[in-house]
């Protein structure tokens, strides 16, 4: 028998115990009877889909019985949530922004992420390359881990997104729900009724807005002859983009300086040369004054770079999807054993996901770990481990089992 990395029957039992004690905490989504639910069991079988529940007690009973590894519900509202996709009768959908450290460049990935080529078995640290450097194979397995740096970055993106949704889109706090996913990111739900009917094209426009894509500086007031005061106080992206540019030039990142050194055109050099003048124009206006120092195209390019700092990095495909299944808040994430946990908008700043979302409290469990980087849970750090037995508190043991990095026993 192949080795049982993850000890799934042990995990399923633990999850069941957790839900028996605390299933009441699982809040059903708004208008639950119109949602589709999906469950991924521990046994590696297919997702149980096209289910629906008319009241919380039904849902709770189902969860206690099946003790699934992952629990999802549709962001969409359907007339017939149990029907197959074609005949469900889509009514509308919440908008759910997916912020996931998997899509971010964080320096720590070199320390905790790893890849392996399925073809030749070559291995390496960090993000998986497009092709295996050894054999050119394209099927690479990637192993990613949560860490404080990644989660802080994701939190920062969530906060930028919330700022834009509140200030620019005027979404009232009561319609904004923030959830830690229980793994590497956050979901931000807009449940406002007026959002529900938006089609994919409209959602695309919103995603482009929050990610700062497709911005034309001449449409933000940076065009010849425009009078006015400092663009830093402009509404919406005008102010935000101008502030981004200001910060960017005030302390240019090494990459920009490097490009200038490598002589990417005269224009790039003139940017650093006339930096003080540009900063002055940004501070005093008019916005058109900046064109004295920068051509339209180089300003556009520079702005694009700068705006990336102010824009929120959300996963475009997931966010635009109007049929997506989303993790149900206050359920366990089968990839970590942590709780996918709601966080208040005000509380996000001080939220520590790796402490607050711990579900399992309990004594030492003997396990055998095949490989794990150092990780933190609560106040404790564990690892790194490589092919060794360890005795860990229940939460840490479950975390490693869920990662399929360990098994029960010595």
């Amino acid at each position: 028998m192949a080795e049982d990395w993850g000890s799934t029957s042990f995990l399923e039992e633990q999850f069941r115990r957790y839900y028996r004690a605390g299933v009441a905490k699982v809040d059903p989504p708004l208008e639950m009877e119109r949602r589709e639910f999906g469950f991924l069991p521990f046994d590696g079988g297919v997702m149980i889909r096209h289910t629906s529940f008319s009241d919380p007690s039904q849902l709770h009973a189902f969860i206690m019985e099946k003790a699934p590894a992952h629990i999802y519900y549709s962001s969409a509202y359907y007339r017939e949530p149990r029907a197959d996709m074609e005949s469900k009768g889509w009514i509308g959908a919440d908008m759910v922004f997916d912020i996931d450290a998997d899509h971010m460049e964080t320096p720590c990935r070199m320390n905790h992420d790893a890849w392996r080529c399925n073809l030749c078995g070559a291995e390496g640290m960090g993000r998986a390359p497009e092709r295996c450097p050894k054999c050119g194979g394209t099927t690479l397995e990637e192993e990613t881990w949560v860490c404080d740096i990644c989660l802080d970055k994701a939190k920062g993106e969530a906060q930028k997104l919330l700022d834009i949704l509140i200030q620019d889109f005027g979404i009232p706090l009561e319609y904004l729900k923030v959830n830690f996913t229980g793994n590497r990111g956050y979901h931000i739900h807009i449940t406002a009724p007026w959002i529900r009917g938006l089609d994919q094209r409209a959602r695309r426009e919103i995603v482009d807005y929050v990610t700062g894509s497709g911005m034309r500086i001449e449409l933000l007031g940076f065009r010849p002859g425009v009078k006015g005061s400092s663009p830093l106080h402009g509404l919406g992206w005008r102010g935000r983009a101008s502030k981004a540019l200001y910060d960017y030039l005030a302390k240019p990142p090494p990459r920009l300086l490097e490009e200038v050194r490598r002589g990417r055109g005269k224009k790039m050099r003139s940017i650093t040369d006339s930096r003080d003048e540009i900063l002055k124009v940004l501070g005093e206006g008019p916005p058109s004054g900046i064109l004295k120092y920068l051509g339209r195209e180089s300003l556009n390019r520079l702005m694009e770079e700068a705006v990336r700092e102010q824009a929120a990095a959300v996963d475009t495909v997931v966010t635009m999807d109007i049929h997506r299944l989303i993790r149900l808040p206050n359920t366990l994430n089968g990839k970590t054993g942590l709780i996918a946990q709601p966080v208040s908008v005000e509380g996000l700043e001080d939220y520590d996901p790796l402490s607050s979302s711990i579900a399992f409290k309990g004594g030492e469990v003997p396990i055998y770990v095949r490989r794990a980087p150092m990780f933190r849970l609560g106040g404790e750090k564990y690892g790194p481990f490589k092919e060794e037995p360890a005795s860990l508190p229940l939460a840490a043991a479950i975390f490693l089992l869920c990662r399929k990095a360990a098994r029960i026993g010595r």
Partner: protein, 351 residues
């Protein structure tokens, strides 16, 4: 109650419709000699839409002018021609936009709220060199601007604050045109009884003739509304047949075929099904690629197929015929062949 003057300007308003009910006009009475100018004007509205793409002029008598609108809508819906429905709706919408441009902000907002339930505020703001007159809720904004391709309509390039997009008067009216067009398209696609008095049927005949005569010239700028397989250029027919016969297409052939089908108005979903059912293409990946080409994803550019020269370079120009010698692009071939087919009723059956 709405004035007859207002009803003649904006005959599509709900208030105008209730005026019509109030008048209790019976279809039977339409043949009455007194109503003849109304029928004439109704017919004229449609003919103007076909010929010029905009409805102009009008009767001096406001009530008669107003009554000619439902007549025109009825005539359009009797043709059961989706192309005319769209063309007529656009022509009436352009007319309405021109009239709205000379209204004051209050009236524009009143129509937008009352008729289309827009969340719109009249709020004058001067920012840099632009005078904004309105604030429109972003949901209403997106619903009506999503078909526009210019950068200036993209949400990212608008001033958006506390849920509202700032609009100039011209922009607000341009967005209203989209609503009016949609409303009139709905009205004229309603099915009506085709059993009508002679005076109406005569007019219907004239409209159909004008439409057929004008199709080729209008068709030069607009593609036919339905997919006409018989008008495919030989290169596309070749790829299409290869695909449906389960054969393999090169990457560039797949791109050419899907961008061609998208551009002649085939639904992305149908194209996905075509690829998936005819071969072992992965559905998710195919959908992703088709949506990309259609501009729903990625750079948002809607791709067109390569021109004939590029196709020759790639060796995918197959069996060129005489019409191929006169065009440089597969889409031009399609437009011309489609309008030829429309002109001869016999050929239409071969589709």
């Amino acid at each position: 109650m709405i004035s007859e003057r207002e009803a003649s300007k904006y005959p599509f308003l709900k208030e105008a419709a209730s005026l019509l009910e109030h008048l209790e006009i019976d279809i039977e009475n339409l043949t009455d000699q007194r109503y003849r100018p109304i029928l004439d004007r109704g017919e004229e509205r449609v003919i103007q839409a076909i010929r010029y793409g905009v409805v102009g002029g009008g009767l001096k008598d406001d009530l008669a002018e107003f009554l000619s609108f439902p007549i025109a809508v009825m005539l359009v819906s009797m043709t059961r021609d989706p192309f005319l429905e769209r063309r007529y709706a656009l022509a009436e919408a352009v007319r309405a936009r021109r009239l709205l441009e000379s209204e004051d902000e209050g009236r524009i907002a009143e129509i937008a709220r009352g008729e289309f339930r827009w969340r719109i505020k009249v709020q004058r703001r001067e920012i840099e060199d632009t005078i904004y007159s309105f604030e429109l809720h972003f949901v209403d904004y997106l619903r009506n601007s999503s078909s526009f391709r210019e950068d200036k309509w993209r949400l990212i390039n608008r001033i958006l604050t506390e849920g509202y997009v700032l609009l100039t008067k011209a922009e607000a009216v341009r967005l209203l045109q989209v609503e009016v067009e949609e409303l009139i398209r709905r009205l004229s696609s309603r099915r009506v009884e085709s059993n009508m008095p002679e005076q109406i049927m005569e007019r219907l005949g004239r409209i159909k003739r004008t439409l057929d005569e004008s199709r080729s010239s209008i068709g030069d700028s607009a593609l036919p509304s339905e997919v006409i397989h018989g008008a495919f250029p030989p290169c596309i027919t070749h790829s299409y047949r290869t695909l449906t016969a389960g054969g393999r297409l090169s990457h560039i052939e797949r791109f050419t075929l899907s961008s061609f089908l998208l551009n002649i108005g085939m639904e992305p979903e149908r194209i996905v099904q075509l690829f998936v059912s005819a071969s072992d293409f992965d559905e998710g990946l195919t959908r992703y690629q088709i949506e990309h080409i259609s501009g729903l994803r990625g750079s948002r550019t809607r791709y067109t197929p390569p021109n004939c020269m590029t196709m020759r370079t790639h060796g995918i120009c197959h069996n060129p015929d005489s019409l191929c010698g006169k065009v440089k692009h597969p889409l031009s071939y399609y437009r011309r062949r489609a309008s030829e087919l429309r002109m001869s009723p016999k050929a239409r059956k071969d589709r």
